[in-house]
């Protein structure tokens, strides 16, 4: 099992998202995240799909996506240098003053913005890789168990311009 990335160019039409997500659910493929948005060409949408699978299943997934009429192009990003980011909001509730101080400290270390707060609630915004976001969530869960609310956007990815690290 390995983490994979696919970039998908699809027709910007009603029902295409259903077609793609339905392919994953119908064939029992694991899907970690799927994001979609319109491209510079308004008739084309671009999806970033992240998933975890073995080699054989992954080959199947790419072929199944490719044979869908609505799919214009499938690009495998797994071994390509890419930039990727995921937007993440974490709201921490019922904070004491000490909690708030601690959250400000965490935000510095993790490079996370605190975009809103009041006397008992803090809202963090994090735009980093899926893995970094996972780490942050793990830490916050440990420290503020049962008091956090998480919203994740799913990853978006684009090929690197110069050869760079992930």
């Amino acid at each position: 099992m390995k983490k994979r990335w696919i970039c998908l160019f699809v027709e910007n039409e009603i029902g295409v998202l259903d077609r793609i997500s339905g392919l994953f659910s119908g064939k029992s493929y694991n899907l970690d995240s799927l994001t979609v948005g319109v491209t510079e060409d308004s008739t084309i949408s671009r999806m970033t799909i992240s998933l975890t699978s073995d080699d054989r299943t992954f080959e199947q997934i790419k072929k199944q996506l490719g044979r869908s009429v609505e799919v214009i192009k499938v690009v495998d990003y797994t071994d390509t240098p890419i930039h990727m980011k995921e937007i993440l909001f974490v709201k921490v509730n019922h904070c004491s003053d000490a909690d708030i101080t601690e959250l400000f400290r965490i935000s510095k270390v993790f490079g996370v913005a605190i975009i809103d707060y009041d006397s008992t609630t803090v809202l963090l915004e994090c735009t980093q890789t899926e893995n970094r976001n996972d780490d942050l969530i793990a830490l916050l869960k440990r420290k503020f168990a049962n008091r956090i609310e998480i919203v994740r956007g799913g990853s978006v990815a684009v090929e690197a311009v110069s050869m760079s690290e992930r």
Binding site: E11, K63, R67, E70, I72
Partner: protein, 579 residues
């Protein structure tokens, strides 16, 4: 530019696509389309008695003519009645375009009367599904639908037509060509891969061809026969591939699979090169996958990249249309010196033939008689034992064709498919081989066959059981005949595990039923009467004929690979050990 309604454009489009037969059932959200078809002379509009029968008929028409089958039904229940037929056709790569009426666009989402999200319902069981939301898009969408249905790996396209789009005026232009940027059927053959494949084949000691339905779909039977004869390599087929070369050709070994022949399954298990074309290696043919063709180098040609290296690992994958690939192979082919191997296969064929014995009225006798009496025929099957026996005993050559629901295995397919086949091939004999159970799943189409004067010959192999399931219950479930007896009545004791002389009468009486529809009915209980009945059906050219063959209630399909076994680990005969 002339302004016409969407419905008028629809009719124009059908004509441009050379549609000569339309399978159609009306309703409120399709009434404008039917209005535009009224009095139309170029298109034969057929009204079946149920939308499921309708789409299987379109399917049989398409499989037997090679043309696209076209359906038109209303929204809601009309559309949902198509679902089984869509999945059936798509699974077997049959080109169909299904037009469905839909409520007007401004009403969609309101739980309007007879509104269903048909595109959503069918998305996972068809090749492409689309709703036409604007009158301007209508012509292009219909063009696209026919193009996608018929090219590449053929399949079903659903076109949902809202009522306001049908009624709206717009241009009468219908395009001649279309480009779909996300859809590029593979047209070329990779010669490098072909050369590699031929190199492997030419060095083989024990090679076989394994041919699936792809060769029949590509109409490459003649080329395949040439390839087999030129190389001398034995040919094994899947059920869907049967007829790829004439079954009477000495190079033909038989069907592979859980009810395949001993010789075919043994050849696959022992071969050193498995050259496969147009099959997806599904579980029905591979048996225990870990032990499938373990010693073989495997070459796999398929038009669908997704079928390659999915169920088995392949050494040489080739994505190509079967006909184009076989033509390319023919250029490189040469005779192989493999007489030891072919002798061995012939020995297996001789020692372990599929044979039901000579006692009673067996399906083998019935199907062999059909082979003898009908030389230019289309035979459709239903699903169950009747289908498996047909695939075992029916001869197919250049003039005969078999239509069967292989992928989905849809009971109720055989009879309506025959109606479609007869409409498309009025001069051929069309014969249905059905079970007593499956025949009742679309029996209402008797009326269709009668009113359109389609003299199809319906052979019901009546064992009074859902025989295929009963066989499994007998062999693997301790004879617990749960819900498989078709002669059961309230008066029966519960927990019955065998037929008896005192079983209640079968209902319906198929002969009386045939007569009530204005058709002919013949009941056959003895082997001597088989040919008499078939001949008399052949002579009845005005109405359909039902021949009800009363067969042994517990006769089984043999041989069989029990679930979980590898292909060469078969049970060859029933316990009673027939003569």
């Amino acid at each position: 530019m002339r302004q016409i309604t969407g419905a008028e454009l629809f009719v124009k489009a059908l004509k441009e696509e050379a549609v000569d037969t339309l399978f159609a059932y009306p309703g409120g959200q399709a009434i404008d389309l039917f209005n535009a078809l009224y009095g139309e002379k170029e298109i034969d509009v057929i009204l079946p008695r149920h939308e499921q029968g309708l789409i299987h008929a379109a399917d049989g028409y398409a499989r037997s003519t090679g043309k696209v089958g076209v359906c038109l039904v209303t929204s809601g229940p009309g559309a949902t009645n198509l679902v089984t037929g869509i999945a059936t056709a798509n699974y077997d790569s049959v080109p169909l375009v299904c037009f469905t009426g839909q409520v007007a666009t401004h009403l969609i989402g309101n739980d309007t009367f007879q509104e269903v999200d048909f595109v959503g319902i069918t998305r996972s069981i068809c090749k492409y599904a689309v709703m036409v939301r604007k009158r301007e898009d209508l012509a292009e969408t219909i063009k696209k639908a026919f193009y996608i249905a018929r090219t590449g790996k053929p399949g079903v396209v659903v076109v949902d037509l809202p009522k306001d789009v049908q009624r709206a005026y717009g241009s009468d232009f219908y395009p001649e060509e279309i480009m779909v940027r996300g859809y590029k059927p593979k047209l070329s053959v990779h010669m490098g891969q072909i050369n590699k494949a031929m190199d492997i084949l030419n060095h083989a000691v024990k090679p076989v061809f394994l041919i699936g339905g792809g060769v029949n779909i590509a109409h490459a039977n003649k080329e395949m026969t040439q390839l087999a004869e030129l190389t001398g390599v034995p040919v094994i087929t899947t059920i869907m591939g049967k007829g790829a070369i004439p079954t009477t050709n000495s190079l033909y070994v038989g069907n592979i699979g859980i009810h395949g022949s001993y010789a075919a399954n043994s050849a696959i298990s022992n071969c050193d090169v498995l050259f496969s074309i147009g099959t997806r290696f599904n579980d029905r043919i591979t048996g225990k996958i870990e032990e499938f063709a373990v010693n073989a180098k495997i070459i796999h040609i398929d038009v669908d990249a997704a079928s390659i290296s999915r169920n088995i690992d392949v050494d040489i994958p080739i994505v190509a249309d079967a006909k184009k690939a076989i033509c390319a192979l023919l250029e490189k082919a040469k005779p192989l010196h493999i007489s030891e191997w072919t002798d061995e296969i012939n020995r297996w064929k001789k020692e372990y033939p599929i044979d039901m014995g000579k006692i009673g009225l067996t399906p083998q006798m019935i199907i062999r008689s059909i082979n003898e009496l009908f030389k230019d025929a289309i035979v459709t099957t239903d699903v169950g034992q009747n289908q498996l026996w047909t695939t075992q005993f029916l001869d197919i050559d250049e003039n005969n064709q078999m239509l069967t629901s292989g992928g989905l295995g849809t009971m109720g397919y055989g009879f309506p498919a025959a109606i479609g086949a007869k409409l498309g091939n009025p001069h051929k004999d069309v014969i249905v081989i059905s079970g007593d159970g499956g025949m009742q799943m679309n029996i209402q189409e008797m009326a269709t066959a009668v009113v359109y004067e389609l003299p199809v010959i319906i052979c019901i192999l009546n064992n009074g059981y859902l025989g295929n399931v009963r066989q499994w219950q007998e062999m693997f479930y301790d004879r617990r005949y749960s819900s498989t007896c078709m002669r059961y009545r309230r008066s029966c004791e519960t927990g019955c595990n065998q037929p008896a002389h005192c079983c209640p009468e079968y209902t319906p009486d198929f002969i009386a039923l045939a007569e009530s529809y204005g058709a002919k009915g013949i009941r056959v209980t003895k082997a001597e009467d088989i040919k008499l009945a078939l001949n008399s059906a052949k002579q009845n050219t005005k109405t359909p004929t039902i021949i009800e063959f009363i067969i042994d209630r517990e006769v089984n399909v043999m041989p069989i690979v029990p679930p979980g076994n590898s292909l060469n680990d078969m049970i060859l005969e029933s316990e009673e050990g027939r003569e």
